[in-house]
């Protein structure tokens, strides 16, 4: 250890109580940031995965213009050809076809406008969690024809239960009237009220006949193992589909499919960033005060050192070294303790029973699991480190500008 490092280390411990308090303030800020950022990322991942896994999927392949116009005739005519391309991409965990038609669904007493979706029961069970969210009755079986799944709120609004009949009245792909009578086989509850209020799922084969689809579908929904794979899948799909001259299809990822969710996350991140910055600034000011006090107490000593021939730059480095040791120790302690605390909650979860109504809006359960990652573990503490070092620069510059004779005269 060099003499300057030795001096810096010893100087830090000249006032142990003050040093421990300063270290605690830095470590506390780092712990808060590690935990809060992890908590945010964890809740975002749950929000995204919940939305994606219930229905949206990570990626959808649609006919060009279908997302904007929702026109029945904007279809993928040969979904099997595209499916061959999809199957070649390893990162795609599963996929399924869907077809949609806006229709009027009526029970004996009431009628509601809904989105009727044709699904392949087996494939859909791989990409959507609806099969696990059946609260009454059963999920669709592969051989089912005129059976439907409906949302809990729709069932309540139509006053229907299991095995009750519903009439579907819509417009087929060719413009003709699509009408059929179906039986309620299952009632699901996704936790997303809008979805539960307006969704009817029927077997794709039945939908195909009812809406005169001629084997066409509106979208191919794909899921990935991780959110991190989505960009790669999208890139590969786009490249492969344009190679096969499937120019009239578009590849959309979950961010394009759920813009409201993305904006919500961005807004939450921005407001959190402001809060974190203020928190770090408050800590930085208290640390600046400590550093200034420490420097003030040693002004005479600095004056003597300057008189002995120590150059101002060396004193500047010494003071910065002390601040860096202190900050680094605080930040490292904060990261270690913060990660340990976060990891515990990542394993056990945090029960937010009080916020369950809000969380339900996003399809989340009442338990949130913080997500510890390199970003959440280091981003906040890095901010603490940078701002604290910036705060330490001021006293260091003050030391650099000391006039020996004035400094020696100081008390």
């Amino acid at each position: 250890m060099s003499t300057d490092m030795k001096m810096a280390f010893r100087n830090i411990w000249r006032s142990p109580v003050r040093t421990i308090l300063t270290l605690s303030a830095i470590a506390f800020a780092a712990i808060i940031l590690v935990f809060m950022v992890s908590f945010q990322l964890g809740s975002y991942e749950i929000m995204v995965n919940s939305s994606v896994k219930i229905y949206t999927g990570h990626i959808r392949i649609q006919a060009e213009g279908y997302r904007e116009k929702r026109n029945m005739r904007f279809v993928i005519s040969s979904p099997e050809r595209i499916a061959k391309t999809v199957e070649k991409i390893e990162e795609i965990k599963s996929y399924s076809f869907r077809a949609n038609g806006f229709s009027l669904v009526s029970s004996e007493n009431r009628a509601r406008g809904v989105l009727v979706t044709g699904i392949d029961p087996e494939g859909e069970a791989e990409i959507s969690t609806i099969s696990g969210l059946i609260r009454k009755g059963e999920y669709l079986a592969p051989g089912d024809r005129d059976k439907v799944l409906i949302g809990r709120l729709l069932a309540r609004n139509l006053k229907v239960g299991i095995n009750d009949e519903l009439t579907i009245l819509g417009q087929g792909k060719d413009g003709s009237i699509a009408a059929g009578i179906v039986t309620v086989k299952g009632i699901f509850s996704s936790g997303i009220d809008d979805f539960d209020r307006s969704t009817v799922q029927v077997p794709l084969s039945y939908f195909n006949d009812l809406f005169y689809m001629d084997g066409a579908v509106h979208e191919i929904v794909c899921t990935a193992d991780s959110l991190f794979d989505v960009n790669k899948i999208k890139r590969l799909l786009k490249a492969n589909l344009s190679e096969k001259k499937q120019k009239k299809v578009v590849v959309l990822d979950w961010k394009e499919l759920l813009p409201g969710l993305v904006q919500g996350i961005q807004l939450d991140l921005a407001s959190a960033a402001i809060f974190y910055f203020i928190l770090v600034l408050v800590v930085a000011f208290s640390i600046l005060n400590t550093f200034l006090m420490a420097i003030l107490e040693r002004t005479k000593e600095f004056g003597v050192m300057l008189a002995l021939g120590v150059k101002p730059n060396r004193l500047f480095k010494l003071v910065l070294m002390e601040s860096s040791f202190l900050t680094l120790t605080g930040v490292i302690t904060g990261v270690v303790v913060g990660c340990a605390i976060t990891f515990w909650f990542q394993t056990h979860g945090i029960d937010l029973a009080g916020a369950s109504e809000i969380l339900k809006e996003y399809g989340m359960s009442g338990i949130v699991y913080p997500k510890l990652s390199i970003v959440s573990a280091l981003a906040g503490p890095l901010l603490v480190f940078v701002i604290t070092i910036c705060a330490a620069l001021y006293p260091a510059f003050k030391v650099k500008k000391l006039v020996p004779v004035d400094a020696i005269r100081s008390i």
Partner: protein
Amino acid sequence: MSIVRAENIKKRYIQGKVEVHALRGVSVNIDQGEFVAMAGPSGSGKTTVLNIIGGIDNPDSGQVIVDGNNYSDMTQSKLAELRLNKIGFVFQAYNLIPVLSAEENVEYIMLLQGVSAKERKKKARAILDDVGLEGKYSRRPSELSGGQQQRVAVARAIVSNPAIILADEPTANLDSKTGESLLDMMKKMNREKDVTFIFSTHDNMVMEYAKRIVKLKDGQIENDIIKDK
């Protein structure tokens, strides 16, 4: 040969709204190997003369030349180098670096001079032995008595082989016995190593030890007495 030449130094301070003339044209020549006491009552300007000779304060006018270096031509950085290599300081309040041991305090100056670690250690211990601090190398200043701290300060001042040592009231905080012993040690170094010592003092004992007494009053030299050998 003059090791210190100060010509017509003037210095004034502003204390609140009052202008204080600390030095009103002080000129003094000090030769290599002298043992000089700047004497005078409080406020006479003796510490200011020492600070200006040491290059830690600037005169308003006049010039100071130490070992051939004219301060008015030098940058702060060059002055720092000069202080490191040519001037040793001994302060009234010892002013050792509290976080360093006696040995490290002495070594620190040599570290700044770029002396190797091995050489530093050897020289620091030898000089601490010379000032009577054998076996107390690893003691921190707080673990030493006032007299012992001042001995470390002298060792620190002398270790860099300076041309002059400036001692600002070095015995003021010591009892007479300790002060006498410290002065004996300085006198020995002056005699054996031909180091020039310049004191500021109003202690009669220091004046008795001095070969030359420059008496200051109200910022001017009242008289300059060279004692008979």
